[in-house]
């Protein structure tokens, strides 16, 4: 009922005219869950980044007398200590930087591959489109977790060798992180490619594209100045939804023991370590609880923000 009422009085008509740029933001603000998520996300990100100077020093620092100590106010151990006597507050904050970094990097990679692939397929159409999209279909059928593992194990030694030859020895840790987001990004561009292709196919037939072509605009310019700006909406939405997926996949890899190498923490590996420390005699609940809550909260917020963005940026929504 309420939906029907709000449809009859279109808020867009009663409001003063807004610029096209501010309209999506206005719509985004109407979704309360998205705004709350944005605020929580900002708090988590700022907390992780602001403490970075401390956490980079402290994340692997051991206090052997304090191992398995529960949460306390002394020496900032609000989240307690892990099995090796490391302060979980610092580890969680630093792990947040690594987890979010992996999520963002994997999303960026999937955006680049997915957009280029989808846009090319949609733009050229016909047989090229057919071949490119059949390949996407086939890759959809591949068990992607297995592909991540294969990609990681197959190319990690090569990347270490490459990085060592460029930056000097001791690049194992960097290579480990880089290969992880390359592998996760390398398998998560498929949905993006499909969405972008659909978008390009429908945009291609619009009058303004025809006008640009008739006006003699070179293809490169059409693609960059006329096509790409119209793709920004779906790109942002699916990028936001890829970040939580990537973070979750990293946590599975950590659980299987092939994620980020210790002692560098991620929320996933911290939760996995915590889960492995669970036993029936003594409960070290804080080792599972805090990383899991941070991980869950972040994924939740990112999903809400993605949904809010989709509603705000979808040109079909009238509200």
């Amino acid at each position: 009922m309420s939906q029907a009422l709000s449809k009859t009085i279109d808020p867009e008509l009663t409001e003063p005219t807004l610029s096209p740029g501010s309209r999506p933001w206005r719509r985004f603000c109407r979704s309360r869950s998205a705004i709350v998520s944005l605020i929580i996300m900002a708090v988590i990100i700022i907390a992780c980044l602001a403490t970075l100077p401390i956490t980079t020093q402290m994340y692997s620092q051991q206090d052997l007398d304090a191992n398995r100590e529960p949460p306390q106010f002394e020496s900032f151990a609000l989240f307690g200590y892990d099995l090796l006597g490391r302060n979980l507050l610092w580890r969680c904050l630093f792990g947040g930087v690594v987890s979010l970094g992996i999520g963002l990097a994997a999303a960026a990679i999937s955006v680049v591959i997915g957009t280029v692939w989808g846009a090319l397929a949609g733009w050229y159409g016909g047989r090229i489109d057919n071949a490119m999209m059949r390949l996407v279909d086939i890759l959809y059928g591949l068990p992607y977790v297995l592909m991540i593992i294969l990609l990681k194990i197959a190319f990690e030694p090569k990347l270490i060798k490459l990085l060592n030859s460029i930056f000097g020895p001791g690049q194992e840790r960097v290579a480990n992180i880089v290969i992880l987001f390359l592998a996760i990004g390398g398998v998560s561009w498929l949905t993006m490619a499909r969405v972008i292709r659909g978008q390009v196919l429908s945009l291609k037939t619009q009058p303004f594209m025809e006008a640009a072509r008739a006006g003699g605009v070179p293809t490169r310019r059409i693609l960059l100045r006329h096509l790409l700006p119209n793709l920004i909406g779906p790109i942002i939405v699916y990028a936001t939804l890829t970040v939580p997926q990537a973070i979750l996949q990293e946590s599975f890899l950590s659980f299987l023991g092939i994620g980020i190498q210790a002692p560098v923490p991620t929320w996933g590996s911290l939760a996995a370590e915590g889960v492995k420390a669970v036993n029936t005699v003594v409960s070290f609940w804080w080792m599972v609880f805090f990383p899991s809550v941070l991980l869950g909260l972040t994924l939740l917020c990112l999903n809400f923000i993605g949904d809010g963005l989709r509603d705000a940026l979808d040109p079909k929504t009238t509200r």
């Binding site: 939906q3 390949l135 086939i138 959809y140 059928g141 591949l142 068990p143 992607y144 977790v145 297995l146 592909m147 593992i149 294969l150 990609l151 194990i153 197959a154 190319f155 030694p157 090569k158 939580p244 979750l248 946590s251 599975f252 659980f255 299987l256 092939i258 996933g268 939760a271 996995a272 889960v275 669970v278 029936t280 599972v288 899991s292 991980l295 869950g296 909260l297 994924l299 939740l300 999903n303």
Partner: protein, 318 residues
Amino acid sequence: MWRHILTRLALCPVILWVIYTITFLMAVAIPGNPFKTSEHNLSPDVQRAVLAQYHADDNWRFYREYLSGLFQPIKALKKEGPLIDLGPSWQYRDWTCNQIVAASLPVSVGLGLTAMFLATVLGVPIGVISAVKRNSWFDYTSLGLALIGISLPTFVTGTALLILFAVELTWLPVGGWGKISQLWLPAFTLSLPFMAYIARLTRLGMLDVLAGDYIRTARAKGLSPRKVIWKHALKNAFLPVLSYLGPACAAALTGSFVIESIFNIPGLGQHFVASVLNRDKALILSTVLVYSAVIILFNLLVDLTYTMVDPRIDIEKA
């Protein structure tokens, strides 16, 4: 209809061949093999002979031999060997990949299918009730549970359920495989993210459908609300769920190996991770091919049920 099914089936080998080639290229990129790391100090001659026996000395030869050995209808007709021969395992020298797959695939598929069954049977009614009683406490509670199901990794929810039901309440066994009672906990854990997604999809679909004119007509001609909701509305609202089931089954199969590791279940998942770590390239190819074949079949099945539920969809054009 039949022509479509046959074309799809005929395409399967082509798709599997592409997948085989992609996987092969990646498997070859992994350095090392399980023969060199053997603790027995083999003489170079023997080592060369062992490598040659497994075609491990020459990548291109391994590619050809493995591919040509895969499908053997003539041998199977003469009852000399299996129809599909996945070759000998490189790491477990006493086993063929066929034996390993035969022992563990039914476990993974059984777990995955039970999970998908639970996800559908519980997720759809939850979605329908939340749509009908929109903004009620039930709607919000189910939304909250769904969000937990989507945003926590299964190894956390699995461990939490394990502690609650197996350790504290001792209603269900902690792990293992073989009895029905050991199936519920892992299957339920595995089903959680899918159940959440199915409930959300159903709710969204129902909200769309319930606003339709034919629902009003059905109510106006005096049908009971129950019949309208569960028969007329759900049939249309179920379509998005159905198209999600194909990829979801695939994800449940691959997602199951985290679950298998928590609950100590001897499924195919453990072999995949182990085969990559062991550089057992024959087993890597076998597991990927078997998984992919199962996924392709599931997708085909889902597409076929699609036309059965909604006769408006013409599968030839889809």
